[in-house]
């Protein structure tokens, strides 16, 4: 799969985080869209149908955990990654939709090329499901 064929949705309430990750992913050729809240992302996710959605855990409003559960019911084909700055172990609900510890990304990501690899893997795996 070409990066240009992979749509990524990024959910984070901090603009600077959306900016730096978007810049990197766009340089890699991905199609990136971002949302500042879970509520905003839920409005657009069905239209975007991203291959991969990366969500912050602590968001103002609905948190990342609940967001992913809801988003999954709208877009079950999307692979969800949780991006968090605190130690976190997956809730049962997130395990049920197939997430594993590998899908939790610890902030700050030191090297964004690792994120790129993770997105590619996830997108490839998502297509086969």
């Amino acid at each position: 799969m070409h990066n240009a064929d992979i749509r990524v949705l990024l959910v984070d309430d901090e603009e600077i985080i959306r900016d730096c990750i978007t810049a990197y992913l766009e340089d890699e050729g991905f199609i990136v869209q971002s949302a500042a809240s879970a509520e905003e992302a839920l409005e657009t996710i069905a239209a975007i149908r991203p291959a991969v959605c990366i969500s912050d855990l602590r968001l103002t409003g609905m948190n990342g955990e609940r967001f992913i559960v809801k988003a999954h019911s709208l877009c079950p084909a999307t692979v969800y990654l949780l991006h968090t700055g605190t130690l976190y172990s997956l809730s049962d609900e997130l395990r049920e939709i197939g997430m594993t510890a590998d899908d939790v990304l610890l902030k700050p990501i030191h090297d964004l090329s690792k994120l790129v690899n993770k997105i590619k893997q996830s997108a490839a795996a998502g297509r086969t499901v």
């Binding site: 901090e14 600077i16 985080i17 730096c20 990750i21 810049a23 990197y24 340089d27 602590r58 700055g85 605190t86 130690l87 172990s89 610890l106 902030k107 700050p108 990501i109 030191h110 090297d111 964004l112």
Partner: protein, 396 residues
Amino acid sequence: MSAKSAEIFFKSESRYRTLVENSCDIIFSLDTEGNFTFVSHAWKTVLGHDRGDAVGHNFRKFIHPEDIPRYETSIMTALQTNSAQEVTYRIHHADGSWRWHTSRGTPHVDENGVLTVIGMAYDVTERLRIEEIMTQTEKMIMISGMAAGMAHEINNPLGAILQHAQNIERRVSTGIPANLKAAAEVGVDLDLVRAYLQKRGIFDFIGHIRTAGMRASVIISNMLYFSRRSESGAEYIDLSALLDRVLELAGTDYHLKKKYDFRRIDLQRDYAADLPLVPLVVAELEQVLLNIIHNAAQAMAGAAMRREPRITLRTRLSEGMVLIEIEDNGPGMDEATRLRIFEPFFSTKEVGVSTGLGLSVAYAIVTKGHRGAIEVQSRPGEGSCFTVKLPLQGKA
């Protein structure tokens, strides 16, 4: 008992004597020079020394050198102000250890008109140990709340620093078509731009931003252990094998090699043969033990050692806990240092090299993550011994 009947009761010298000799506390008297003129039977039961070793000898013979001035002051004050004085100090036990005692002494003029100090002393070692653990626990509770909040606030700015530094590196690279296009639009040659940046050291600066950011990030992620809750992830592990692996890791850690040669240290293993498997989180316990061994090796390398540096790893079972002891024969530490080593950011080492998080992280992992305990004993000039205690039962 009224004052009158008490007088009658105590009139008999033998009653006094029986009381004094049966007291669990040490009852003693000292002359104005500080020589014992009497010690009760408890002297032998509490401290293991013969009474004859004390009488006629000076208190200074038994009291920890660091505590002698305090003891002297208390006696002087009692005599000068004619009042009872309390003092807490370390006193030598016949088994070679130091025990903490509190004593209360009062000036007394005996029937021959001789001035003495009479008093009572009792062991407070266990009480102080428990107080120390409680203080430690309180400190940790305060810090853990702060750490989680701080980590959350700092990780995003840190992410921006690290990731934008990476973005800058990439946006001046020739590998990305959009860069070449933008350069052409403004009429510059990207290779020349890169040559300029190279010449002025800009690439190095960006590299330094990333290194510094990563260092800060490691500190923050270490602090997350303070707010860690006990959770699963524990497996039943063969402790002897884990200790062997940790020693191997310690020997190959390149950070260590830079500072000293781990191979010069005499490593002694004294593992209990009958240990059951112990429930623990492997990566975390490895970190704990590595931190302790790392410290021991650093301490021995930093001190002028007149003996061969040695680290002894010991394991044994005690009261449903498995004990891991890591003992070194390095410089040890004084009491003031010992009391602070589990505090985050407490370090006696070079700033910028050590953050002072090693033992505080170890403390959090052992006490919060594994419901165990970690303690230290140390004698300046002789060495230190860390004890990690882990429960054999998994978490309740």
